[in-house]
Amino acid sequence: MGGRTLIDKIWDEHVIAELEDGLDLLHVDRHLVTDVTSPGAFATLSKRSVEVLTPELTFGSPEHSVTILAGRTEDSNPMSRDFVPLMRRNFAEHGLTLFDIDSPDQGIVHVIGPELGLTLPGTTVVCGDSHTCTNGGLGALGFGIGTTELAHVLATQSLVQRRPSMMRITFTGRLAPRVEPKDLILSTISRLGADAGAGRAIEFAGPVIEELAAEQRMTICNLAVELGAKIGLIAPDDITFEYVESRRYAPKGELFETAIEYWRGLVSDADAVFDREEVIDAGIVGPQITWGTSPAHSIPLDGRVPDPASAPDRTTQGQWAQALEYMDVEPGQSLDGLPIQWVFIGSCTNARLSDLETAAAVIRGRTVSPNVRALVVPGSSAVKRAAEAKGLDDIFTDAGFEWGEPGCGLCPGLGGVTLEPGERCVSTSNRNFMGRQGAGVRTHLAGAATAALSAIEGSIADVRRG
């Protein structure tokens, strides 16, 4: 028998039973719950009078429905007025741990999971949210599930899953100055395609990954799903263990030592076989911006919007033509200098302390363009406090940014803020889909530094200039 991949090792550890037809019954170690996708599942439990099987492994926080503007309460918008109390009732009824809207631990679940030590290397983490792969940054096998599956997890702490095929993306070389992990992963999606990982689980590896901080690794894994893979993860190492140690819900003392010993074995064997392998030179990647309506529609800041005539196939040609029209950009156009109306720095992709530091370093002492409304929304209450302790909030507000309350906010077009059709937003989030940030809204995905500088200039800007 050949060697096993990192993902195989974690998967095997969680198989409760091998079912027929290549399906496994998989144990769920951590269930993260959001406000918007869970009500249907709790309703299913009530209807059948079923209890949560292992309540101590379920944690949640309201994040999607909540307003992200200063001074918010659950009554600040109609959606959170519905969903926040509903979540509170459901959690109380089943004895689950809730980080409520006014809790010092509230936040986007993929930010607070790692931050609170809930997400641990080698665990399975599921959530009714496709960006659960973010947790892979710590070496957890995280993936998004639907509401029906969510009910299954609550009731049985398990899921019926097909083992994915294995893919590895190795990043060689070294990231150029002012190039963020976000740029690297956007460039990778553009190169490989939005379906490169369909049916696969992706391990990100190589010297570039090994040097990244834990938070940066989360950004890489966050966008695995935009490559089509439910799962993206990185082998845990000393950087991971140092991040996890002493977090509130992480194991302590002897238990932590036992865990580390086990976690050290979580690497792909030298003879492990991957169904698909890609090697990418990170050194040639520059700051990225998306021009179209898929995260795969990414170009370097000094690049040009592509011509549908050069698309790889007929259907992609049609998609590019549609995207050009929706985004109101032309083939051959440079996006550098394109006027914008909004900047959003936030989301489970880029709203950790290091992202806010990156953005603050760009804007310090400068002023947001009068034509732009710019928001910074920390990923969690803890990120917010840490940023405030460093004075980042002052840097942002002095520059003319709004300093928000934690939540998903503008990423899925929520948060109590409405963008108008035709408006252009540079966003550090993960999806530039048609209509996602609002009907007719044009989203350009970018890293934190690019978004920050674009707010200052009032147009899409190349950080290497700024």
Partner: protein
């Protein structure tokens, strides 16, 4: 769950890649309360493609054309249903009357969600799918038979397809996975007891009382 055996009707060709869940059902609409209004989800399905900026129907969108209005089958290209995990995407398609999506490839989470909701996702090759789309353009019906695993093109050509046998049975009998899962609770608890000994750090969460 509604069983799926044979579905026959027009197959609407929407031959674009990456039809994502925000197109199928916008996330900012997911505030529509559930389970109260699943039926209404159909109104927002395909919103960005189906409606013009003024809210009127976009006549060039395939499901707005008379021959495909209410079509039970959809033909698509690569990566259909990519994006969010929200099951609203499947519910919205069901609310429009769609029972089967045939595509070159699917978003993984959407693909799984289909089987939980009486929706059959079928993977076919690029060439077969494009010729099927050409045949279906007239609005002539296509038949999908999950019993025999054969679909019959509008011109009568049989095309066989594959579905995971467990998932096939689930659809054919309208089985609810949760019912099966609940019967496995003893097995799961036994696993946890053993697992707790080898990986105690998973189960002993500091400050969180164990129910067991």
């Amino acid at each position: 769950m509604e069983a799926f055996t044979v579905v026959r009707g027009p197959a609407a060709p929407l031959m674009l890649p990456d039809i994502n869940t925000d197109i199928l059902y916008p996330g900012r609409r997911s505030g529509n309360r559930l389970p109260a209004g699943k039926g209404d989800l159909g109104l927002d399905a395909f919103g960005p493609l189906r409606y013009l900026p003024d809210g009127s129907e976009n006549p060039s969108f395939v499901l707005n054309q008379d021959r495909f209005r209410g079509a039970p089958i959809l033909l698509a290209a690569q990566n259909f249903g990519c994006g969010s995990s929200r099951e609203h995407a499947v519910w919205a398609l069901r609310a429009l009357g769609i029972r089967c999506v045939i595509a070159i490839s699917f978003g993984d989470i959407f693909f799984g969600n289909c089987f939980q909701n009486g929706m059959l996702p079928i993977v076919l090759g690029d060439e077969v799918l494009h010729s099927l789309a050409e045949e279906a353009a007239s609005g002539q019906p296509l038949e999908v038979n999950l019993q025999s695993l054969v679909l019959t093109s509008p011109r009568g050509n049989p095309i066989s397809f594959a579905v995971n046998p467990t998932r096939r049975l689930q659809l054919l009998e309208g089985l609810d996975e949760l019912d099966v899962g609940l019967r496995r609770r003893d097995l799961i608890t036994a696993f946890q007891q053993a697992d707790r000994r080898s990986r105690p750090w998973v189960y002993e969460v500091p400050g969180v009382a164990s129910a067991t």
